[in-house]
Amino acid sequence: MVMSDKTTILLADDDVDYLFQMKLHLQQSGYKVITAESQREAEELLQSVQPDLAIFDLMMETEDSGFILCYKTRRKYPEVPIIIATAVASETGVSFGLNTEEEQRWIKADLYLEKGIRKEQMLTEIKKLLKA
């Protein structure tokens, strides 16, 4: 299927380098990317834009910024798939507030990813979510 309009991805992360690299990568893969450097910025963007998919960092202004964004997005645009990406180390076995896999399940983000994953893998996941 040929799409006339590019698929839009909203990317919110307070690590400007991650934001830059991810944006570049997604653009090269043919997506239109809008970025926000904070939860607040993302909320503002969500007022006027409906993305086709959203990727939120977990810890921005507060430890659970990503989750709050998740709720707000869900309420406004129930069909938009959401990925929560974070660099919190899962290896250490310590749970940080809200981010175990179980919690993620009922927080209802569609996917919970570690930031260190390969870019190609991220793309595969995005494609999967957009198709569903």
Binding site: V16, Q21, E37, Y71, V94, R105, W106
Partner: protein
């Protein structure tokens, strides 16, 4: 576990779902099950909690008599160990978010499926387990490192990811073959590496202050020299930001201690005062001594911070994130280290701050104790 809900259906539902449900966790010796008790009102719930405090309270927000939040308040005051989960309808999610800020552990949106209830109970159980573990480790002095290492790995991984990403961009020649087109990429990589270096330096400070007493070199330390040293090392940055740093001392002030420790305190406070300042701002350092001890005050005309932020400052890895601070590198360790040093000397540190006006950090180090203890070494 105690379920507090005025709808008997919910209570019995929860009971039924959790009756044969157990949680297993690799770190736990055995699976955990649930004993479920019910209360239909907040008053009843408080009575129950007074009698036999449960581990978990599943609390409906809307109750006939006193509200869920009041029960939460009661638990916060009297039984802080109890984990409170709020049951809430989707409509009042915002309220639930607020409740979690007030100390509720989490919330379950209503209506929930058995699977959702089980998932969150599983997670709470793990949390209870981790908490008790942490308490035990805490007693043995191990807790700090347990948490610390996981945050640390996060703090080290982020810049590594960033630099790696940039190197890949260069490797794939994504901006063409002209090296100058990669200036920004190189610049950012260097920035992130610098941030990592700060973190490592802070870590070294941390190990140094926690080193054995015998490695410390206690002597009379001239605070004027320490302050001047601190000003000197921040000077290049201060010039760049056009921040004036002034030292005010009416007399020579000495403190008995390890010079390293004093440098750590002064360097961190002065460098923060410059870092979190406006272009053209000012920093005043006041040092004074009396019979009780030494007073150090570092006052700046910088960006300041909100009251709720000042409360968290001295914890490890706390950085206040907003538009004004986002381009300033730092590990969030500095003030936690300062606090540790000051605690070693039985002193105290306070902060007063107003957003957009500036901050004042005040340190007091008592004198007497150390004078009398020195005779032994």
């Amino acid at each position: 576990m105690l379920v507090v809900d005025d709808e008997p259906g919910i209570c019995s539902g929860v009971k039924r779902i959790l009756e044969r449900f157990t949680v297993s966790y690799p770190f736990m010796d055995e699976d955990r099950g649930f004993d479920v008790y019910e209360s239909y009102t907040g008053e009843e719930a408080i009575g129950f909690i007074q009698q036999s405090p449960p581990d978990i309270v599943l609390l409906d927000n809307k109750l006939p008599g006193i509200q869920g939040t009041e029960v939460l308040d009661y638990i916060n005051k009297n039984n802080r160990d109890i984990i409170v989960m709020i049951i809430t309808s989707y409509a009042s999610l915002e309220l639930a978010v607020k409740a979690t800020n007030q100390g509720a552990y989490d919330f379950i949106p209503k209506p929930f499926t058995p699977q959702e209830l089980k998932s969150s109970m599983e997670n709470v159980t793990k949390n209870i387990f981790l908490r008790s573990m942490t308490k035990k480790l805490n007693k043995e002095g191990k807790e700090v490192r347990f948490q610390f290492l996981s945050v640390l790995s996060h703090e080290l991984k982020s810049p590594l990811n960033a630099v790696e990403g940039y190197l890949q961009i260069m490797q794939e020649r994504q901006a063409g073959n002209n090296l100058s087109d990669y200036d920004q990429v190189i610049d950012r990589s260097l920035q992130r590496i610098k941030g990592m270096r700060t973190l490592i330096m802070d870590l070294l400070d941390l190990t140094r202050i926690q080193s054995d007493e015998k490695d410390k070199q206690y002597k009379q330390v001239n605070l004027k020299e320490v302050a001047q040293g601190a000003i000197e090392s921040i000077n290049p940055y201060a010039i760049q930001k056009d921040v004036t740093v002034e030292l005010h001392m009416d007399k020579e002030v000495e403190v008995y201690g390890d010079p390293n420790d004093m440098e750590i305190v002064m360097n961190n406070l002065v460098s923060n005062a410059v870092k979190y300042n406006y272009h053209g701002g000012g920093v005043d350092i006041n040092i004074d001594g009396d019979m009780q001890g030494v007073h150090i005050q570092v006052r700046d005309t910088g960006i300041g911070m909100k009251k709720e932020d000042t409360a968290r400052l001295f914890k490890e890895f706390v950085r206040i994130k907003n538009d004004q601070t986002k381009n300033i590198t730092g590990s969030g360790l500095g003030l936690s280290i300062v606090k540790k040093v000051i605690d070693l000397y039985d002193g105290h540190i306070d902060v007063e701050s107003e957003p957009e006006k500036g901050s004042t950090f005040t340190v007091f180090l008592p004198i007497t104790k150390y004078k009398s203890e020195t005779t032994t070494s």
